[in-house]
Structures are given as C-alpha cells and as structure tokens.
Symmetry: C2
Subunit: 363 residues, 2 copies
DNA sequence: TTGACTTGTGTCATCGATGACATCGAGTGG
DNA sequence: CCACTCGATGTCATCGATGACACAAGTCAA
C-alpha cells in the first residue's frame, strides 16, 4: 500500500531514479568514515576537529553522490522543522495575496525556512482541521494572515505555537502583528493633494467598519489640519467600496455647488468609479479634477487613463516583516534582518505617483 | 542555540505551553499499553485485532491528552511526507495566482496533503536552490506552475520527483500538465457574439508568441467558420496586451469604414482600452458595440460599466486537477477524484456573461 | 492431555541525522 | 618511562512512529 511512491512503469517514462535517495550513511561508507564524522563536517560543527584531508574527501564524496540531508530526519532529531505555516482566510479573493505571500516566502527562504500554505475560506471548522494539520507537521511558527486589515481573534489551537498576525491585529497587545499604517497612508494621500495646491478636497470613503475606514479618514483629517484647512463634513461621502460606490459618491460631490477640486478615494476601485463620473460630467482628470486612490491595484491604477496616483499597501513588506517577527519569537541564530521585532508593527504606505494629480483649476 | 523554540519570557506572555508536545508514548503510558498498540488503534490497521475495551480506552486517552501524531517522525518512517511542493515562477505578478493556489491547496487538503510554496522569480539559480530545499523536505511531488500558459522545460532537479506542470506545458509529451483550452475559449467567446447576431466581429489580439495568442486566434477562426462567416484579415489587429494596446487597436478598427459591430479582445485589460476608445468615439456599449474579453479579471470586468462579458480561465480547476494528476503519479490509495489522469490535460474556459454583449445595431 | 490456533499485545529494529561520550594512537612533561 | 593531554574519529542512544515478528493466555479438536 503506497510504500513505493512512483509506479515503476510511470517512473521510467518520466525519468525518476528509483533508488532510494542517498543518505548520510551512504556518504560515510563511500568516504570510509562514520556517519557522525560526515555530519560534523557537513554541519561545520564548532569545537570538532577534523583532519583537513578527511574533510576534503568527505565533502567531495558528498558532492559526487549528490547528497542532500533528509529534512524529516533532521527535523525529528532537532525538534525544528524549518517550516512555517501560512494560514489565510481568503487567499483567492484579492490580488494582494500574492505579494504578501511572496514577501513572506522570500524572507523565509533567506533563513532556510519554507512556507506551508493553507486557506481556511473563513470556515472555523475547516480552520481547526487545517491548523491541526500544520501542527502535526511540527511547524516552527505560524503566520495568520487576513486579506484585508482587520481585527481578529487568534484561534485557540494556535496558542501552542508562535504566531504572528499579518494584515490583521489582535485586541490582545501581546500578540505580534504587522499591519499597514492606515492613518499615515491617508495623510500621505491628502498631503500630496495639498502640495499641489488643493484646499477643497473631498474624501470618498467606504461604509465598512474596518480599521482602514477609520484610519484613512483620520489621516485625511490630520493632513487637512496640518494644512490649516477647516474640515467640511459635506466633503466626506461614504458608499460601498466598489466602482459603483465611487461613481455615486463622485456624482454627489461633483454636482454640489462649490465642488471639490480633488478627491481622495478610499480605494482604487472607488476611484475607477470616480473616473467614470468625471467623464460623464465632462470633467477632465487631472486638469479639472485631481484624483488619488488607495491600494495600488495595478490592474486599475495602471489601466485607467490617465494613470491613477495612489497610495500603495506595503504587501510585500508586510509579509517579510511578519516572518522577521516570527523569527524573533522562535529565536533563530541570525536575527540581522532590519529593526528588531515590536509587538504590533505598522508599516508605512508609499505614494505611487502617476498622472491623476495636478494643480487645481482657476487658481 | 535555538533548541528551545520560544524564549521563556515571551512564551509566557503569548501563552505557549512549554512542555514537549505529547507523543505516542505518552498516550501509551497513560493508557497502560504499548506504543505499537496505540499506533495500531489510531491508524485502524487492518488485520490487527484489538480488544474493543482497550481501543476505547486508548482513543479516549489520546483525545484527552490532545495527542497529534508527529508528521516528521511518521514521514521519516513511511518515506512519505504528505507534502507537495508548489513552485511558481511569478506568484505575485498576477491576480490569477491566488485561485490556482487555492484550487491546488484545497484539492491537496482533501487527501491530507499540504502545499509547500516557493517562488523562483524566474531566476534559474534561485530555482535550483529552492528546488533543493523542497527535495530535502522529501516532498512527495511537485507542481511546477507558470503564471501564464506557456511552454517550459522541466528543471533537471525535478526529474527525481513526480512533477506536474500547471498552466504550462512541456514539449516532452511524457510530462503531465494542465492548461486552459485556449482554442475552445476563443470559440466560446466568438460563438457568443455570433449567437447574438454579429457577423462583423473584430479580434483584438496581442503580439506575444505564446499559446494563448495562437489558440484564441484559432478559436476565433473556427467559430467564424462554423457560422459561415468569411474571415476578414483587416478585422484582426494586434497590439500590446494592455489597456493602451486595446485602446489603439480599437480606434483603428472602429474608425475604419464598415466597422465591426463586436470586438473579441485577447484579454480584459485590452477590453478596458476598448471601452475608453468606444467612449471617445461616442459609441455606447453594448448598444452600438458589443465587447467580449478574456481572463475574467474581476477587478476589471466587474468594475467596468457596463460589466464586461468575458471568458474565464479555469484557474481554480487547474490547480485542483494538477493535484489529482500528481496523486495519480504518486499512487495514493484514494484516487476517486473525477476523471483519471491524462498526460496533457486541457480545461475548458467558461463564459461569464455580464452586460457588454447585445445584438448588433441597425439589424 | 497436548499440539494447533486464535486473540490480544509487547519487543525490537528501522527510518536518517545528531549529540554526548568513548576510544585510540601519538605526543609530552615530569 | 609512564601518566596524561590532545587530536581525530567512532559508538551508541535518541527523536516519534511503525511493521515484522514474538509471545502469553486461552480455545478447541483429536
């Protein structure tokens, strides 16, 4: 029952070599030493003296045989799998996922760690099962990722393993997390508009009660305050965070008297709707109206005309930083990856300048 | 040096239990039987008789202690890690990635397998190293995924392990692969236009020499032939596969005399450009012009107005099928996951109807 | 009554790598 | 000349789970 991994017939076709993978003993035998010695040499164990000649011979033998250590055996012995779990709620629904994963994976690889991917689909029952699978695999830690910034509860099972929240935060300040700095992001966007001379700046926000909503609004306010502009509540309009919501909100804002000369949109999708509204109203972007988005979904921001200036979520960075935090928890030998770990880390969101922002008309 | 995974101080804060995870021996001791017996019971080994009373007691003990088998140890012993590698070239650059991964992951989970993720970034040197990491982890097989349908060479290292190509194909017909059926996809799109009564159908294609280009064009031709429409070479225009390319191509096609009443676009991004061109020319979609895209990038197709009818790439399905194929190679016990494996599998691309297709004007 | 069987369970070796400790020969100082 | 150190390498147990096989106690037929 499945002892042999590959049916012989197939194996031949595809070109597998059927022999066992060679282990440390094979190298030892071939080099005429003991397995221990080989281990010492290959791992460059300190405090172990080895005859340079022997070392050379063993190294050469290992190379020739194409020896690669068996991670399972090593993991068993060392009680460390060099593997971390990546659990996400909705890996698929957002294009952001890729960059978070990439950041995590590349940072992990730097430390010889591999990522075990899992998607719960938001189903708690499934989540329990999947986390169990992860624990069985003896993961050294877990990245618990959300696909948009929010507050989550850490599942009970994960308490037995070092865990870092990714694009999510816990109410328990003891749980390390990495999230984007929404406030600063909002500030960045609005400052850019202010910098171009805008004073009447609308904010098209969304209706969901999530950190991004509150944070970006707060950032909007701070930037206005900083510029000495009094906030006009009529300039803040909320709608669903999709193209159609942006469209509706923009129509409202742009048809009011004393219309804003610039719009800061909760996200790029809403900005997409703003473009349509502007076109229908005969307003040219950026000559008549400056627009700035959030998220930097390149499909949109690059696809729109003119290109949408926006604030990028630091997805790659978040993934990478989360791994660093996890490493700090698990106490790896090499911890030279930037700033030390903080419990709840917030990453800045960089401005991505394209072509949708200019000075306001009729200055 | 890192023997203990968690610094004690931190551990306390976060709530890790510092004790070793309990192993089979602990259960055995607690239940007053041998480890072997526990193993037999938990694995429901056939041909092994166990006293129902003992079974009950062991099961209960295991549950109480929260026992979970150590995957590393089991993998070592059974020479099977129940893990498969997912190697992709560009995990991040496309939103499709998520769904492929999800499909693969969910199908894998059904069989108790976990996915080890890796991204090569297209760097062969890095790829070699990463694949080595995978092999060290004793993966049972590898999914080698490309982020757009193309022909690839299987890296030398992977020949020692069962491999299935995902959204990629090899010249060697012996290498199993799963790709979308581009030709059928093109046919599907154009048939939809024909069905609505269109006869003058333009094809905005791209300039890259990849299977999608040739396949979709072939599908376009077949559908026309099927409808008894003579192909007019002036109706096929190629440009870069982005919004701007679609924009340019559309301007050309729509400003020519006897303009097409419908446009089939190589992808949704090009269709996005077509929308802009149509708007500039004062053509209303779908009243004056029907448009159909390809890829179903929801960000676009759902964000455009009116919604873009398009042909979806079966990403989720591809991921899932690839796992099934891999399972067939590795010979798992349960192989009841749909149709049996074929060497080079092509999956149909379903039509996604939104609102950009209608009957041609002035019938 | 005894050998053949059944039933239920335990013993032991094994998977591959590693660390603590043992060993062994060659120097070295007293 | 001998106890001792040091350099170089080997022995053995171990990590946790599992399979082949052994074994003890009971059942049954001859």
């Amino acid at each position: 029952m499945g002892r042999t991994l590959i049916p012989h017939s197939l194996a031949k076709t595809i070109g597998h070599d059927m022999g066992r993978r060679i282990g440390i003993k094979d190298v030892a035998a071939a080099a005429g030493v003991s397995a221990t010695t080989v281990s010492h040499i290959l791992n460059e164990v300190e405090g172990k003296r080895v005859n340079p000649e022997t070392r050379q011979r063993v190294l050469e033998t290992a190379r020739q045989l194409g020896y690669a250590p068996n991670g399972l055996a090593r993991g068993l012995r060392l009680r460390r799998s060099n593997t971390i779990g990546f659990v996400s709620d909705q890996i698929a629904t957002t294009p952001h996922a890729g960059r978070i994963i990439l950041g995590a994976q590349e940072e992990a690889a730097k430390h010889g760690l591999l990522l075990l991917m899992l998607n719960t689909g938001g189903d708690p029952e499934l989540e329990r099962k999947e986390i169990d699978l992860l624990l069985q695999r003896q993961v050294d830690g877990v990245l618990y990722a959300s696909m948009y910034h929010r507050v989550v509860e850490v599942p009970e099972r994960l308490r037995s393993v070092p865990t870092v929240l990714l694009d999510a935060r816990s109410d328990d300040p003891g749980v390390p997390s990495v999230v984007p700095d929404e406030v600063l992001g909002g500030e960045t966007a609005v400052r850019e508009l202010v910098r171009h001379g805008h004073r009447r700046i609308g904010f098209i926000t969304n209706v969901d009660d999530i950190p991004a909503t509150h944070g970006r609004l707060e950032g909007y306010r701070r930037a206005l305050a900083e510029a000495g502009v009094a906030e006009d509540p009529r300039l803040v309009v909320a709608d669903v965070s999709e193209a159609v919501g942006g469209y509706r909100a923009a129509l409202r804002l742009l048809q009011a008297e004393e219309r804003p000369t610039a719009l800061f949109c909760f996200n790029d999708r809403m900005a997409m709707g703003v473009y349509r509204a502007a076109a229908e109203l005969g307003l040219s972007i950026p000559a008549d109206l400056s627009v700035i988005g959030f998220d930097d979904q390149e499909l949109i921001s690059d696809g729109l005309f003119p290109g949408l200036t926006t604030v990028a979520l630091p997805h790659y960075e978040m993934g990478a930083r989360a791994v660093v935090q996890l490493l700090a928890l698990t106490g790896t030998p090499d911890q030279e990856s930037g700033p030390g770990a903080q419990a709840q880390e917030m990453l800045p969101c960089p401005l991505v300048v394209r072509a949708s922002v200019a000075s306001p008309p009729r200055l």
